[in-house]
């Protein structure tokens, strides 16, 4: 019984840790994504022909600028994703393995009440 209680306490600690980590990561990812989008938009605005750039544009230089800016944005996003995975991996490695929480067969509460 004591071992079970320890296990559940560890699970609760681990869950709190994960929540804190998510709180830490989310603003960082948001800020980075905003920066990436800004860089991309500025690059596109600088190279595109007014009123003809963007998706569906017919002028070739504008299309190229759009494609380049999109490629840069994609690369930045991939970098962010990669960094996020690295952080998550590092965090996972430094945490004790998450024990199974209090596994239950059913739940009592207001759960399950869904209004169509």
């Amino acid at each position: 019984m004591a071992a079970t209680a320890d296990l559940h306490a560890a699970a609760a600690r681990s869950e709190r840790w994960r929540r804190a980590l998510r709180r830490h990561i989310t603003p960082w990812v948001t800020a980075a994504a905003t920066a990436a989008a800004t860089v991309s938009a500025v690059a596109w605005a600088a190279s595109a022909t007014p009123n003809t750039g963007g998706p569906g544009a017919t002028s070739s230089p504008a299309q190229s600028a759009w494609a380049r800016s999109q490629a840069r944005l994609l690369k930045l996003q991939q970098g962010i994703d990669s960094d996020e995975r690295q952080i998550a991996k590092a965090a996972g490695a430094s945490l004790a393995p998450l024990p199974a929480g209090p596994a239950v067969h059913a739940t009592t509460g207001a759960s399950g009440v869904v209004v169509p």
Partner: protein, 321 residues
């Protein structure tokens, strides 16, 4: 029960939607799996039967026809008749603390139709709720021979007790085919026999603040449990926060200081009645009320503190620190 080789027992599990809830039936198939499957289907059908006859959201339902003219006799379907009788028994058992004549109070606060709970803030155009005069004693009349009722003056809401009764009746339909089963519907459940792992059924008590982990785990064998919680069914009436657990003494939402109360007992309908009654007692009185009546109860206050009655400790296998 565990299989002879120590593995998990074969299980038949079905889920459906009824009574604004997800209904789950799990039954362990010892021998005749086909018979268990048939019993599970019949058990689920109980919820549709109860909903059809006892819903208050369909004006033509048997209950609402009786509610429309509460001072006349009405012949009603078997399930509705039984539910009304049980509601009156619960009224007597709790000395009027449980009283289904709160239909008009709910309607006054705008809960006269299905509201989109769980999808964000809900507001109704209802007037600001205010206390009303206490109701006179409830004295409905019943004629079992023709399944007729005379409600006596006021319409009734069978929402909570109806679900508990549906769980009871569904379990009764399962017993012949599967001694080990679990019926769960919107917070009310009955745990018969053993779980697939061979031990007691483990029931998590939901965090009424919306957290994903339970705040406690109960171990139940041949026991029911029910929870009255305001996590989901709350809304605004004239800018004032209200919820669906109405105190029949005032006609206003009750349960000061409480978020949820869970009760364990022999029967799901009775557990449902006591969970609501205890909730309405409010934080100051809930513990003493439960202990004086030997009720196995667990409650969570507005500030997140968890309390348990003496009788609940035997069912509690885990709780948050």
């Amino acid at each position: 029960m565990s299989s002879p080789d120590g593995g998990l027992a074969e299980e038949v599990s079905r889920e459906s939607r009824a009574m604004a809830s997800t209904v789950t039936v799990r039954a362990l198939a010892g021998g005749d799996r086909a018979a268990v499957e048939r019993a599970v289907v019949r058990a689920l059908a109980v919820f549709d039967e109860v909903e059809a006859s006892c819903t208050r959201f369909v004006p033509t339902s048997p209950l609402m026809r009786a509610n429309a003219e509460p001072d006349r006799w009405h012949e009603v379907p078997f399930r509705c008749y039984c539910a009304l009788e049980e509601a009156h028994r619960a009224y007597l058992l709790t000395k009027g603390r449980f009283d289904p004549r709160i239909l008009a109070d709910l309607s006054r606060m705008g809960y006269d139709r299905s509201l989109a709970f769980g999808t964000g803030a809900v507001a109704t155009g209802a007037a600001s709720p205010c206390p009303r005069q206490p109701l006179p004693p409830w004295k409905p009349r019943f004629e079992p021979a023709r399944q007729a009722v005379l409600l006596g003056g006021h319409g009734v809401d069978l929402g909570g007790i109806g679900k508990g009764l549906a769980v009871r009746w569904a379990s009764q339909r399962l017993r012949g085919a599967a001694a080990d089963h679990l019926v769960e519907a919107g917070g009310d459940c009955y745990c018969a026999g053993r779980s697939p792992e061979g031990g007691a059924w483990r029931v998590g008590v939901e965090d009424p603040f919306g957290g994903s982990s339970p705040v406690a785990v109960l171990e139940l064998t041949d026991r029911a449990c029910a929870t009255s919680s305001i996590r989901l069914r709350h809304w605004e009436a004239a800018g004032r926060p209200v919820h669906h657990l109405v105190d029949p003494r005032t006609g206003l939402p009750g349960g000061a200081g409480l978020r949820a109360v869970t009760v364990v007992g022999d029967d799901p309908a009775v557990a449902e009645v006591w969970s609501k009654t205890l909730f309405l007692e409010g934080l100051q009185a809930v513990g003493g009320f439960a202990d004086r009546r030997g009720l196995a109860a667990l409650w969570i206050s507005d500030d997140g503190a968890l309390g348990v009655s003496a009788a609940m400790s035997g069912y509690l296998s885990w709780r948050v620190a």
